[in-house]
Amino acid sequence: MYVAVKGGERAIENAHAWLAEERRGNTDIAELSIAQIREQLSLAVNRVMAEGSLYDPDLAALAIKQARGDLIEAIFLIRAYRTTLPRFGASEPIDTGIMACDRRISATFKDLPGGQVLGPTFDYTHRLLDFKLAADGEVPKAPSRDAETGTVPHVTEFLNREGLIEEAPYDDAPPPDLTREPLEMPSTRALRLQALTRADEGFTLGLAYSTQRGYGRNHAFVGELRIGSVPVEIDIPELGFPVEIGEVILTECETVNQFTGSKTEPPQFTRGYGLVFGQTERKAISMALVDRALRWEELGEDNVGAPAQDAEFVLYHADNIQATGFLEHIKLPHYVDFQSELELVRKLRREAGAQQLQEAAE
């Protein structure tokens, strides 16, 4: 006997209660604090800030806790929160040349002004599980020295001085904002970069990797990768001058890429650019490679049909909140559409069957 399905509301409430219990886990184990997540899972916090497009380590840590460590879910929480925030103004452009670098490396010059600073990197660790960490997480104090002061010049500036690399196009126009305007094609580079900096890390990495394997190859050198804090200034109209309101930690990657030149232009290197919130170097490097691949048209290169060259493909599919929402919506009921498909397939099969019978009879 069929009874119309009722009780959706109660089912949802109960599911939420169960979810909260699962999130907490075994209550014999101490609960995680926001500060612990912020301090000890800081790279997860950084990814949530970068793809959530909101620089707030405490909120990102809260989102990770609430999302049970599902970073895309945490990014979603941050995005939904961010969209409700009032906007008081826009900052002045930041100057990464005055970045207080924790890490600064160049793959193109052995030594250079500002030096090579490895910083806190996994790069040369041996990926051996550290069982000692399971028992005791305390570490001896790392050696330290006084920080360098002064600006750290960009590697590409040295190349530019000789005309070896393309001039970075100077543009003072306010950049478009895809969180306030619908994404429309064709897109400007500023818009593409905005989309890429909040794009899914995995998707961006996959695209960047595909360019290295020949799908729109642009042979990138990491001219420079720097991670550190930069001051953020905002112009207060009443005062008439910008005021520093805080600092953000950023990862910036500038790649030096191939360019064969043309009859009118002598050979020159070209640029790819990545800039991401937090210590997020895999993402920043990926972003620079994809940025460079998307520039094929302005640089007069061939479109070889590679996914990473296709701005519509990249920009419409790079946002993990859009992607995960639409992907997972197929869990929702589709009885109605499926029923109409059932009717159609039955009808077509009936007719096909009748036709076969007739052919057999003939």
């Binding site: 069929y2 409700t84 519509e312 929402g325 109409s340």
Partner: protein, 283 residues
């Protein structure tokens, strides 16, 4: 929830959405780009419809939400609860009592009247999308009224299957101009789009598009003279209320192939049952 504005969105955002709606009403069937916001529910789960509802709801409205025709499906419950919490509006399951109805995949069976607004959740607003994946191309095709590709697709269906093999999200032409996706409603519902007394608004959040049909708009399902459009449904009466004119869901009721058919529009079915109509499976 006092920390959020009435109906969640801030007034600036609502104004932006209302402008898009007005533009859509002025150019029926045209997809108006709008700066869709991230909502606290996932993209693909009705964020476009929710934003349109948020922009049109007033405190005196009565709100109804259906998904697959039913008021009690989980996502309909979730969206209704969202507006109860953020707008405090009255809600109802009665189609005739609602002033704003948000729907996914169905048009209510009971004819809507003037003064009502029907808000559709739209996953892919572009009717040409699966013929041409590029937005820059499809926009050009709309502006040039270049719909040949769609007709070729429908023609190829007839050659291959003997019928147009589209059973939901069946494309329509609006006022002789724009080809429009009616959202994934079954083609059974297509005739209701035409000359409807209510305002019909379509919101696609992820795809950042709003489009609209003002009341009494001419909406024609695409077809050919020798293959006319045909609204279809399961050829049964409703097992609960006996209706023969409503769209039916098919249920599997045992493991030996037994099934029954019931109205997908739960309000329609309940009203009929309350009035004494009885189907063969009713208790």
């Amino acid at each position: 929830m006092t920390e959020y504005n009435f109906a969640y969105l801030d007034e600036q955002t609502k104004r932006m959405i209302r402008r898009a709606i007005l533009k859509g009403l002025a150019i029926p069937g045209y997809q108006v780009p709008f700066a869709s916001r991230e909502m606290p529910m996932p993209y693909g789960w009705g964020t476009g419809g929710v934003q349109v509802s948020a922009a049109v709801l007033t405190p005196s409205d009565t709100f109804k939400v259906i998904d697959q025709g039913a008021d009690d499906t989980t996502n309909a419950v979730s969206i209704r609860t969202f507006f109860q919490r953020t707008a405090g509006v009255a809600t109802t399951t009665a189609t005739s009592d609602a002033t704003v109805i948000q729907t996914r995949h169905r048009i209510p069976e009971e004819p809507l009247h003037e003064g009502q607004i029907l808000v559709y959740q739209v996953p892919i607003p572009e009717p040409l999308r699966f013929l041409e994946p590029r937005e820059s191309e499809t926009r050009k095709m709309h502006s040039l009224e270049e719909y040949g590709l769609m007709h070729v697709k429908l023609y190829e269906d007839i050659i291959r299957h003997g019928h147009i093999a589209t059973s939901y999200a069946y494309p329509v032409k609006v006022e002789g101009r724009y080809v429009m996706d009616p959202s994934p409603i079954p083609k059974f519902d297509n005739p209701k789009l035409r000359d409807m007394a209510a305002i019909q608004l379509f919101g696609a959040g992820r795809e950042q598009r709003i489009y609209a049909l003002p009341p009494y708009t001419q909406v024609v399902s695409l077809d050919f003279e020798d293959h006319p459009f045909e609204a279809s449904k399961a050829d049964h009466p409703c097992g609960m209320c006996g209706a023969t004119d409503s769209y039916l869901d098919e249920l599997i009721i045992d493991d030996i192939g037994g099934r029954m058919f019931v109205c997908s529009d739960t309000d329609y079915c309940e009203v009929r049952q309350a009035a004494g109509h009885k189907g063969k499976d009713a208790a």
